[in-house]
């Protein structure tokens, strides 16, 4: 199996996270699982990246500078190309209203960062993208 082939088979995760340390930890952990990782540091960044890279799954933070996670989510669900991409909210917001709002827009899961470990996130993503 050559390298190009392997890259093609790799599932592609877009991590949208403004906190640098959390972003690098998450990326590191998922790379270790054999995922191809792209990162976006804010909402605008995420929206422009989404159309070009067409990820297999999006790990989306909610509190972001500028356009927040809800805006990004609305954008995804209104888009022609990435409308059906699975989105997992990975945020520290977690009030009932936030969860309801996200569910109404269509998300696979809502994880509160502090209440989960990266291992939990890995197993969630494995399940969702059929790895």
């Amino acid at each position: 199996m050559d390298k190009t082939n392997e890259t093609e088979k790799q599932k592609h995760v877009l991590i949208v996270e403004d906190d640098e340390f959390l972003r690098s930890l998450t990326a590191k952990r998922l790379e270790k699982e054999g995922y191809r990782i792209d990162v976006a540091v804010d909402g605008e960044n995420a929206i422009s990246l989404l159309e070009t890279i067409k990820p297999d799954i999006v790990l989306l933070d909610l509190l972001l500078p500028g356009k927040d996670g809800f805006e990004v989510l609305k954008n995804i669900r209104a888009s022609a190309t990435v409308k059906t991409v699975p989105v997992v909210i990975f945020s520290n917001l977690g009030q009932k209203e936030d969860i309801q709002k996200a569910n109404a827009l269509g998300v696979e899961d809502f994880l509160i960062k502090a209440n989960f470990t990266l291992d939990d996130v890995v197993s969630k993503i494995n399940k969702l993208v059929g790895k």
Binding site: L63, N92, Q95, A114, N115, L118, D119
Partner: protein, 367 residues
């Protein structure tokens, strides 16, 4: 208030000239005219005089009757005026009452307005507070998540092999981060704890097991302060209680955590379980958490269960408390249909008591 129509009625009642005088003058005039006629006609026989007498008598009687009638009329008018005056006074009173009523109505309206304003202010305050809590907890949870994940990755061997000793220490660090996250989640939940009774899951709970578990959780903090933890059962074979084990666990955690925090080094903290069925009409168990701590100042006893309130001596000793523990505890116990109270002596210690209903089966779903 003046009533013009009524006033004119009173005026009508007053005749300007006395009729007695009026008729007297007419009678005298007639007499003089008659006398003149008789004189000019030169009539001197008695027939004319005989005619004059009844006329004069008639006029006099008429005058008298008219005078009398007038007197009666005057009396009637006086009574009428009096009645009208009375009525006017009454009307005045009614008007005054009306005014007062209007004033009260206005006051009521103003009060209502003030109340709805205050209510609105309270609502917006409540919203601001919720928002504040939400943002703060988010800001706190983010770095805590980073700490937790780091510990977890190292513990899981993702960053290379570690020794058993290192693992032991890292586990403690991880546990502390977890504990802090729990506290923050509590803070966030406090808004909902008040509102949501439906979140309670009432089952048969063995308080002995639950208490042992809680005391075990606190082994480390107790050891570090050389505090002795004890569980005392006053009788054997205690029945189970109808409770939500997670919520009651939270109550016990809060009480034991406080007890250890505010008891000096080398002290003692005890959970005492007893059967309260003997001295109470309600079938319940009583839990007492006792400490040898700083106590609650007498002046602050009423406020101790208030949200965010902390005893002044507690704040001095431990500046980093939320003042939510006892508030949450009371709310949870009350939602179980139990009571919570305490007795305390400043500088000597505190006993927190709470009761929980004995489990009787599914009927305890909503106590």
């Amino acid at each position: 208030m003046e009533v013009p129509e009524r006033r004119s009625l009173i005026e009508i009642g007053k005749t300007p000239i006395n009729p007695l005088v009026f008729w007297g003058v007419i009678t005298l005039t007639l007499l003089v005219v008659l006398a003149l006629i008789i004189n000019t006609a030169g009539v001197t026989n008695g027939i004319h005089w005989l005619l004059v007498v009844p006329i004069v008598a008639y006029l006099l009687i008429m005058g008298f009757f008219i005078g009398y009638t007038h007197k009666l009329q005057k009396e009637r008018d006086r009574l009428m005026v009096e009645k009208i005056r009375e009525e006017e006074v009454k009307i005045g009173e009614v008007k005054k009452l009306n005014h007062e009523l209007e004033a009260y109505a206005k006051q009521l309206f103003d009060k209502d307005f003030e109340l709805s304003l205050a209510n609105k202010r309270l609502q917006s305050l409540e919203q601001a507070k919720s928002k504040f809590v939400s943002v703060t907890t988010h800001q706190l949870r983010t770095p805590l998540a980073a700490i937790k994940w780091t510990f977890h990755m190292i513990l899981g061997g993702n960053m290379g092999p570690i020794t058993a000793d290192q693992k032991n220490f890292l586990q403690k660090g991880y546990d502390s981060a977890e504990r802090m996250i729990t506290i923050i989640n509590d803070l966030l939940n406090v808004d909902y704890i008040e509102a949501d009774r439906s979140d309670y899951n009432f089952t048969a709970v063995d308080l002995i097991k639950l208490s042992e578990g809680i005391l075990f959780e606190f082994t480390n903090p107790a050891e570090s302060k050389k505090i002795k933890l004890d569980l005392i059962k006053s009788v054997d074979g205690l029945p189970t209680v109808a409770a939500d084990p997670i919520k009651i666990g939270m109550v016990l955690e809060n009480l034991v955590d406080n007890a250890i925090k505010y008891t000096p080094v080398g002290g003692r903290v005890t959970i005492h379980l007893s059967d309260a069925r003997i001295n109470s009409a309600r079938s319940s168990l009583e839990v007492i958490v006792s400490d040898g701590g700083i106590g609650i100042p007498a002046a602050e006893r009423d406020k101790i269960f208030h949200r965010f309130f902390r005893g002044s001596n507690a704040v001095r000793l431990e500046p980093n408390g939320t003042g939510l523990g006892l508030f949450i505890a009371r709310d949870i116990i009350e939602k179980h249909g139990g009571d919570i109270w305490f007795e305390s002596k400043e500088g000597a210690g505190t006993n927190f008591h709470f009761t929980l209903p004995v489990f009787r089966g599914s009927e305890t779903k909503t106590p």
